[in-house]
């Protein structure tokens, strides 16, 4: 079973993504901040990370290159309510950039595509 880490400081969003992806047949781990997420990237066997950008402490764009440095070849989807970070070079290292929505169709499609 593919293992996905969902990183978001918003409990409701984290739970929503978790539930919907469990329904899709994935095993889900969660973290509410980037520091915890980095520890999990280091210790857990993961296939994909879904990473929020705006979080207290370290943000997703800072965490992204660190994650990739810890685990080469790790796939990451940036999942944010904001479109402007797409302009940032730092976001280009992600495999996909998905704007948050209550409808997770796009996110689920990207997950499926990347884990195919």
């Amino acid at each position: 079973m593919k293992r996905i880490l969902v990183v978001d400081d918003d409990d409701a969003i984290r739970m929503l993504i978790e539930m919907e992806l469990i329904d899709e047949g994935y095993q889900i781990l969660t973290a509410s901040n980037a520091q915890d997420a980095l520890k999990m990237v280091e210790s857990e066997d993961l296939d994909l990370v879904i990473l929020d950008i705006r979080m207290p402490g370290m943000d997703g764009l800072e965490a992204l290159p660190r994650m990739l440095g810890l685990k080469e070849g790790l796939k990451v989807i940036l999942n944010t309510a904001y479109s402007q970070y797409q302009e940032s070079f730092m976001s280009w290292a992600a495999d996909a950039y998905v704007i948050k929505s209550a409808d997770l169709t796009e996110l689920k499609a990207k997950v499926k595509e990347l884990l195919a």
Binding site: P65, R66, L68, G69, G73, S88, F89, M90, W92, A93
Partner: protein, 408 residues
């Protein structure tokens, strides 16, 4: 606002200066290759930095790593001439160990590890240079070419004799200058069309559209099979997929290829020195149109004393003290002393070397501060030299600064 100013403002310049320089060992055993003495009073990186200055580029990042202190000291002594309050700078950037916990794995990885710097600068174009080449080049002329071609990447290229070309990346271009094939260090380099004895080699001087550079180094960082090197990985990946052009490095007026040397090996280091000598040298340090800046020291003028002093075809720096000696085809860095009766031939003497009275030195590179005892000989007996020193294939003796030579 002038066009030139606009172009410069949107350009970020990065000099890659972190390599180990293993083929220049022992000269690189305790310092960065770009910080090695060259041409009596310069360091190798001074040529690239002088090109920047003469091209009007005053915002420079130097990516350092191996032996970075030697480079930092030189940058501080010689290149602390930019005004940060006017937006000018020269910054030395060793691996930051912030986003990734590793050294620079290769030239492409050194850019990947500094993406935040490009994000901060947000240039439109990025000029990437090496700190270990000897040449004079107007980078803005290359930038014009790059912009005119609307290239994703432009590689500066110069013809080199085929038998020497296997040390370089070889470019195959079409009639428009677009690169259609690239071979990194092939055993049997293909010839240039219409010129069977020459191959077109990459000078390791690149201009990228910034966004293309970012995409390519990110893709490269994710490729687990990559060596993360511009020559081995990035250029071959781009050729055929992106618009890669070769900028012909030749004299605008005559069309002749211009002088460019990669100081990759000890014999190349020695040979490039010979190119600085003669009444019409292949590379003229006295050309005031494109001055090369070196470390300016407050040292007394050179002093020659005695009645029978013979110096020919040599470059002698300030502060040297020469008595009744014979010096030919040689380079004397600041503060070198040569005692009476000594002979120095085809030698490269770094700062404060002392050659004792009656000593004979031929075809040698002697590092800073070495004291050669009276009547000692170097370069006359290959076997004896090889017992004490490195002797290159070309028969050049390398005397490192950590040796003590015994009299007799």
């Amino acid at each position: 606002m002038s066009m030139a100013f606009e172009r410069l403002k949107s350009l970020t310049t990065i000099i890659m200066a972190g390599g180990r320089g293993e083929r220049l060992f022992p000269l690189t055993r305790d310092k960065a290759k770009p910080a090695i003495v060259f041409g009596a009073r310069y360091r190798i990186i001074d040529f690239t930095l002088s090109n920047c200055l003469n091209s009007g580029i005053r915002r420079i990042y130097v990516l350092s790593q191996y032996g970075s202190l030697s480079l930092d000291i030189h940058l501080r002594l010689t290149w602390d001439i930019f005004r940060p309050d006017l937006g000018e700078f020269i910054y030395s950037v060793p691996p930051q160990q912030i986003t990734v916990n590793r050294w620079y794995r290769g030239t492409a990885d050194s850019i990947y590890q500094n993406l935040n710097l490009l994000e901060f600068e947000r240039p439109r174009q990025v000029l990437i240079l090496s700190g270990d080449h000897v040449y004079r080049m107007d980078y803005l002329a290359m930038l014009d070419y790059h912009l005119t071609k609307d290239a994703d990447m432009t590689v500066a290229a110069v013809p080199a004799p085929r038998r020497e070309a296997s040390a370089f990346g070889i470019l195959h271009v079409d009639e428009t200058g677009q690169v259609i094939d690239f071979l990194e260090k092939p055993a049997d380099p293909p010839a240039m069309p219409g010129n069977p004895d020459f191959s077109l080699v990459s000078m390791g001087v690149y201009i990228f559209k910034a966004e293309v550079l970012v995409q390519e180094v990110i893709a490269d960082a994710k490729n687990l099979d990559s060596q993360h090197d511009f020559g081995r990985n990035i250029i071959p990946q781009m050729v055929g997929r992106k618009k890669v052009f070769a900028y012909p490095f030749r004299d605008q007026a005559t069309g002749e290829p211009q002088y460019w040397r990669d100081i990759g090996r000890l014999d190349a280091y020695f040979a490039a020195h010979q190119d600085l000598l003669g009444p019409r040298p292949a590379f003229d340090l006295f050309d005031r149109q494109w001055p090369i800046r070196g470390h300016v020291m407050s040292t007394p003028p050179a002093r020659f004393s005695g009645s029978s002093i013979e110096i020919s075809n040599s470059l002698i720096a300030e502060g040297c003290v020469l008595e009744e000696v014979r010096v030919t085809n040689s380079f004397l860095s600041p503060g070198v002393r040569v005692g009476a009766g000594a002979q120095v031939e085809e030698a490269i003497l770094w700062d404060k070397v002392q050659i004792g009275p009656g000593a004979k030195v031929r075809r040698a590179v002697i590092e800073d501060g070495v004291v050669v005892p009276p009547s000692f000989t170097i370069g006359y007996d290959r076997e004896a030299d090889a017992q004490l020193f490195t002797v290159t294939e070309g028969g050049v003796v390398i005397v490192p600064s950590n040796v003590r030579l015994a009299e007799g």
